[in-house]
């Protein structure tokens, strides 16, 4: 076979190389270097971390390509960037830069409330958020090569990420226990492509890498998501909104690797200073809950 770029193997393959790692939100080249020095496997280049997007209000859009380029120049690890749900031209711009991965993200203000991007049409791979298995499989059906939980970004509260991880993993276990003739009804109920439902039932996992995101703020949060069965973690506001970002970043990386070793998690958790301020989910008005964006 002659050389082929942008096929499913290499799109899913990069996510496989990120497994067991931490992807960190950064807003400057200096942040990006701190993240890389701490052992991040990739950075997400943004103009504002989700906590600030939440505080700032208004319409949140794709970052300035100039900022993304400066962050790319600062580090050797992969650089991801976010586009708005359904905004395929923002995605085209990010591919033209080019970034290494695009997050079609509910953290930005959606550009289309009915349609997500046709991600098969791109060479660059996409990661998308989900709250349950049906949503994960719809995104994979559209071409997402990596999935993450939505959680509730910018809150420093892990409860929604746990809810979404348990939903996805629990629904996978349920599919595994089904008779073959029950899978079509399951596909209908969850609004997911039948072929993917069958594949998940056979594999006992998603056919792509599955990270945790949205509210992870401590080393123990990261290890919790790993013990639940996630493949790695995104940390957004949790690092650079804390008292000592460099130390906290390194501690979260080490807790993600040694997630099954409570002694190491205890050791790395010592003296990290204040975590980011947290938000109670119930205190967030329904219209401001980011996880509700997209379907």
């Amino acid at each position: 076979m002659a050389r082929v770029t942008g096929n499913w193997t290499v799109k899913v393959g990069l996510a496989q190389m990120l497994k067991g790692g931490v992807i960190m939100d950064v807003v400057t080249p200096e942040h990006a270097r701190i993240a890389e020095d701490a052992g991040a496997v990739a950075v997400m280049a943004l103009e504002r971390v989700p906590a600030d997007i939440r505080a700032h209000g208004g319409v949140a859009r794709m970052s300035d390509p100039e900022l993304i380029l400066r962050i790319k120049e600062a580090v050797s690890i992969p650089v991801m960037a976010k586009c708005r749900i359904g905004h395929f031209v923002e995605a085209q711009v990010l591919e033209a830069i080019p970034v290494d991965y695009i997050d079609e993200s509910e953290v930005l203000t959606p550009a289309d409330e009915e349609h997500h991007i046709d991600k098969h049409a791109f060479t660059v791979p996409f990661v998308c958020g989900c709250r349950n298995l049906g949503e994960a499989l719809r995104r994979i059906g559209e071409g997402a090569a990596m999935i993450r939980t939505k959680g509730e970004a910018g809150t420093g509260n892990v409860v929604e990420a746990v809810r979404h991880a348990r939903a996805v993993l629990g629904e996978i276990r349920r599919l595994q226990s089904m008779a073959p003739e029950e899978l079509m009804a399951a596909a209908k109920d969850m609004g997911a492509p039948y072929e993917l439902v069958v594949e998940v039932a056979r594999l006992g996992r998603l056919p792509v890498v599955n990270f945790a995101a949205g509210g992870i703020a401590t080393p123990a949060d990261a290890a919790l998501m790993m013990q639940l069965g996630m493949d790695g973690v995104f940390v957004g506001s949790g690092i650079f909104k804390s008292a000592d970002p460099a130390r906290r970043a390194k501690a979260i990386v080490e807790a993600t690797t040694h997630y099954n070793d409570p002694k190491i998690i205890a050791e790395v958790s010592k003296g990290l200073g204040e975590a980011m301020p947290g938000l109670e989910i119930a205190a967030i008005p329904a219209a401001e809950r980011l996880a509700e964006r997209g379907w």
Binding site: M1, T5, L14, G20, G39, T123, V253, T256, D261
Partner: protein
């Protein structure tokens, strides 16, 4: 039974484990130095080489891995693992095990949009001339090799992507993502635990 360790600090270590289990090999994950004991071979997987290197330094794994290799235990690095085995990474200062006399260039083909799959010819597989599917993900390239290093695979345009130096093996690509276990069987032959595989541990590449 042959017992292979897979460095499990970060990256695609489970994929290596799955291939090895299919070859009926005992596999153990290595995150701490004591887990390097009683191994017949060690695989350093793909992932981010900066992350794996920093964690290896932080948890005291670099010197024990060097010692393991000096004792003759086969060690194989894929992609990031190859970078970590290299003597030198062009343009970067990063923690390395540094055992192989090779100079590598990180992200030599570009970013993720340049990642590719391409068929490779592997003379070391002997009579089995079927092409091997080379999966290159933000892959490194071997820029130069020392006198004791055997070149196993080149890209059609000439770039060096797989080498062997005694008990050390390095591939810029990802055999663990292909469903083709020939490179894993080649590595097991190096450990002496796969005599019946039909593959010999003696290479047949160019010197």
């Amino acid at each position: 039974m042959t017992r292979i360790g897979v460095l499990a600090l970060q990256g695609a270590f489970i994929e290596h484990e799955q291939v090895l289990r299919g070859l009926e090999v005992e596999v153990c994950q290595v995150r701490l130095p004591h887990q390097l004991e009683n191994l017949d071979g060690l695989i350093i997987p793909g992932g981010e080489s900066t992350t794996i290197g920093k964690l290896a330094v932080g948890y005291g794994l670099i010197e024990p891995i060097r010692e393991l290799a000096r004792c003759g235990v086969p060690v194989w690095g894929t992609c990031a693992g190859m970078i970590i085995l290299a003597r030198e990474v062009a343009g970067y200062e990063q923690p390395l095990v540094g055992l192989m006399d090779i100079v590598v260039r990180r992200n030599a083909f570009g970013g993720q949009v340049d990642s590719f799959v391409e068929d490779l010819q592997v003379p070391a597989f002997g009579q089995d001339a079927r092409p091997f599917p080379g999966v290159f993900i933000r892959a490194p390239l071997i820029e130069s090799v020392g006198p004791g290093v055997e070149i196993l695979v080149r890209l059609p345009e000439g770039g060096i992507v797989a080498v062997r130096q005694g008990n050390l093996l390095a591939t810029a690509f990802h055999p663990e993502l292909t469903g083709d276990s020939r490179f894993h069987r080649y590595f097991l032959a190096m450990t002496g635990g796969w005599a019946e595989s039909g593959l010999t541990a003696a290479g047949s590449g160019e010197r």
